[in-house]
Amino acid sequence: MTNYLIRRLIWSVAVVVGVSVVVFIVTHAIGDPVRLMLPLEATQEEYLEKRHAWGFDRPLYVQFADFAFKAVQGDFGDSLWQKTPALELVIERLPASFLLSFVAIFIAIAGSIPLGILAALRPRSLLDRLCVMGSLLGVCIPVFWLGMMLILAFAVELGWFYTSGYGTWRHLALPAITLAALPMGRITQIVRSSMLDELHRQYMMTARAKGLTEGYIIVRHALKNAAIPIVTLAAWELTRMLAGYTIVVEKVFAWPGFGLLAMQAIERHDLPLIQADVFVVALIVVVLNIAIDFIYAALDPRVRFE
């Protein structure tokens, strides 16, 4: 167990470092961001001066050494756009993205498990077909479009929620539902198919023979055994959200999370901010993955850490 953890940690550090290096190289290869920051009418002298001030006139390996040396100490430099330490900016935005993602994944799970079970209990029934169709729709609908439609219907026409912004549950509702649509579709499908598998196993018959109630059997036996693929998928969906799937939703709803920040950083070619953002995302993904491993172990006694 301890061994496993140590190995996992070493591997995680390697992943985070690797991702940071790749991003450094890719972003610097695209070109320097100085022109992007200055007015179009700025003179060549101003440009060169600014370029020098930001150190973009140094050879790439010097820039990299500088970056690596400081990054190790947690310093990604100041954001070129926001003029303040990049890592702080990203961290400031974490709560909003976490809130949105966790609420969305909660909606998705809470919605898809009952739906998937109901569908699996009555395969080919009308309910089953509706669930399959609905989940397909959830998977296929472009997030941007769904978000806009929800805004038009529930914020502009009905006035139940806010179109955009951050603060209360009336701000949170629409972006969370929008973000939940796709994972909910996927999870419903997986719940349905793994439940179908489990419901036909022999232990179900045994349980029924023991005289247990149907509800108890489904939840305590079937669902528990079907849980591993469901948890895997749900965790993967959550990881995906935090790794960038929130970007579109955050933009549509002006939600001040770090996805929106990342998008604006990319638009402005703000290299320090992009690097800080990628670093944080890599860290989140790595930590989530370790957490998922532990959840597996808790769910399935056969899983062992070696």
Binding site: Q82, I107, L130, I141, M149
Partner: protein, 534 residues
């Protein structure tokens, strides 16, 4: 929007699936249905607090709240650092300059300075307004002006606004309320530059150097309250404002990056003002306002290259473009053909005698034939998404050029590649490159020296006479003479068809029903010029 009912039904169907089993706040939770516009804080009525009952109409203090949507978070709230429209939308209400422009005529008038005069070619003297205080109580005086000038031009400060104040060299206090500003050569547009440079409080700025960019303190009609990054900036009326307290009490400025969402927020009553409205949306918003703006889409011609060195070819390109049709069809009339120059009537140096090249495809063909340039192939570099309908405009112009027999190959490139080409210098400049120019200093120098002076950063045209006139005009302090020089340059650039002149776009704003406001030519959003009707 017309498809709306059908789409709503579809959405509702989807939602039934999505929401049905979810523990989401059930829609029924909100008891009152429609009308109550969800204003951020549920303060029900904008009743003036307590002081109401007294019968006589005491001059009511500032009241009400206005919410302004901008396209993105301000980059900083340091008023002297960034070149950023989102920062200006906030700081234009907090900070002030020595000189202001009239909201209608754009004429330069007194601001924090009551009067000014030129002492010698490089020295300007300003008499400052007395009794003005910064929001933290610090007095506004000569020291503040000297400090502000020195701060913005300090090379170590690395301001992105340097190109706006490039000629400033120094400032010194004559007495408490008299300041001399010194330029590094005669600079006739110094007053214009000073309508740009914001004055900061010396003591506060020095003592809070690290915190200053997040906690602005100015002399203006609004005081800073808070900046929740990515979500909103809050301002409140400065009741001790030297120009009289503004009428609106609270100001919320919200970055909403998605255009469609800004529009939705306006329609839902969450927002009172949206700028940069797409013409198609005008009929959709509660109220709209527009003003001829400063934005001039144009196409740079590399006039040093092959057939393009022939003035007849360049003129032909101008005759071939139907500006009027572009303004009507693409911008639904919220644009006008540029007057054969990249300046508005509000710019110093605008030449009223120069008119747009008329649309005359026959003449274009004839000129091309005369120049032996039939079947000419030209590359047109453009970008997409930076300016309103830029890609559509590029393609429409290319289509019109093709109709007179010029074989135009449009290449839309990514923004940084586009920048590299724009600044590549005349030797490497592509045949044609689409760009857009806005000169916020409202003086011809910035436009002409950047675009048409052979040493200009974006120039791909060279003409010794233009160079000479632009250079001389930059230091000519006789206003009349200087204006004549610009008239001459504008005339030459037009006759020589140094570029393809296209359009001058309107600034279109979406307003809530309750907001009364006339937009300004310089695009500044000044809440002190607004009133609320309810």
């Amino acid at each position: 929007m017309k498809k709306f009912p059908a789409l709503t039904i579809l959405t509702l169907l989807v939602l039934v699936g999505v929401v049905a089993c979810g523990p989401t706040p059930a829609p029924t939770a909100a008891p009152t249905k429609a009308p109550a516009p969800p204003t951020e804080t549920p303060t029900a009525a904008p009743a003036p607090p307590t002081e109401a009952p007294t019968a006589t109409p005491v001059p009511a203090g500032p009241a009400g709240k206005v919410v302004i949507a901008i396209g993105g978070d301000p980059s900083t709230l340091d008023p002297q650092y960034a070149d950023d429209g989102n920062e200006r939308a906030v700081n234009d209400n907090i900070y002030e300059m020595l000189l202001f422009r009239d909201p209608k005529t754009m004429e330069i008038g007194p601001g924090l300075a009551e009067s000014w005069k030129q002492v010698d070619p490089t020295t300007w003297e300003f008499k400052l307004r007395q009794g003005v205080k910064f929001h933290n109580g610090e007095p506004f005086n000569a020291e503040a002006v000297v400090f502000s000038v020195k701060r913005i031009i300090d090379p170590a400060f690395k301001s992105e606004q340097l190109s706006f104040v490039a000629t400033l060299k120094d400032a010194k206090a004559v007495d408490d309320y008299t300041v001399q500003v010194i330029t590094d050569g005669p600079d006739p547009i110094l007053p214009a530059r000073l309508t740009w440079m914001k004055i900061v409080p010396p003591k506060y700025t020095t003592e809070n150097a690290k915190d200053f960019p997040n906690n602005p303190v100015g002399t203006g009609p609004y005081k800073f309250v808070e900046w929740k990054k990515g979500d909103h900036v809050t301002l409140v009326a400065n009741e001790e404002y030297w120009g009289g307290a503004p009428k609106i009490k609270d100001v919320i400025i919200r970055p909403i990056p998605e255009e469609a969402t800004r529009l939705a927020a306006l329609k839902a009553g969450e927002v009172d003002l949206v700028r940069g409205l797409i013409p198609e949306y005008v009929q959709d918003v509660p109220k709209s306002a527009y003003i001829p703006g400063l934005e001039f889409p144009w196409i740079r011609i590399n006039a040093n290259k092959g057939k393009l060195a022939d003035v007849r070819v360049r003129q032909a390109l101008n005759y071939a473009v139907d500006k009027e049709a572009l303004a009507q069809s693409l911008y639904l009339g919220y644009a006008i053909p540029a007057d054969g120059q990249i300046l508005t009537k509000g710019h110093f140096g605008y030449n009223p005698n120069v008119k747009a090249y008329p649309y005359d495809p026959e003449k274009a063909k004839a000129l091309l034939k005369e120049a032996g340039a039939e079947g000419l192939t030209l590359e047109l570099i453009g970008e997409s998404g930076r300016w309103l309908k830029d890609k559509e405009l590029i393609e429409a112009v290319a289509g019109q050029l093709t109709e007179v027999g010029v074989n135009v190959q449009v290449k839309i490139v990514e923004w940084s590649a586009w920048l590299d080409l724009l600044f590549a210098g005349a030797a490497k400049a592509p045949d044609l490159q689409f760009s857009s120019h806005d000169n916020v200093l409202l003086d011809a120098d910035r436009t002409l020296s950047a675009l048409f002076h052979s040493k200009g950063s974006q120039a791909a045209y060279s003409n010794p006479e233009v160079d000479k006139l632009v250079d001389e005009a930059r230091t000519e302090t006789d206003v009349k003479k200087r204006e004549e020089m610009y008239h001459k340059v504008v005339q030459i650039v037009h006759d020589e068809a140094a570029c393809i002149f296209l359009l001058n776009l309107d600034d279109v704003y979406g307003l809530s029903k309750r907001l009364e406001w006339t937009p300004r030519l310089d695009g500044r959003i000044l809440v002190k010029e607004m009133t609320l009707t309810e």
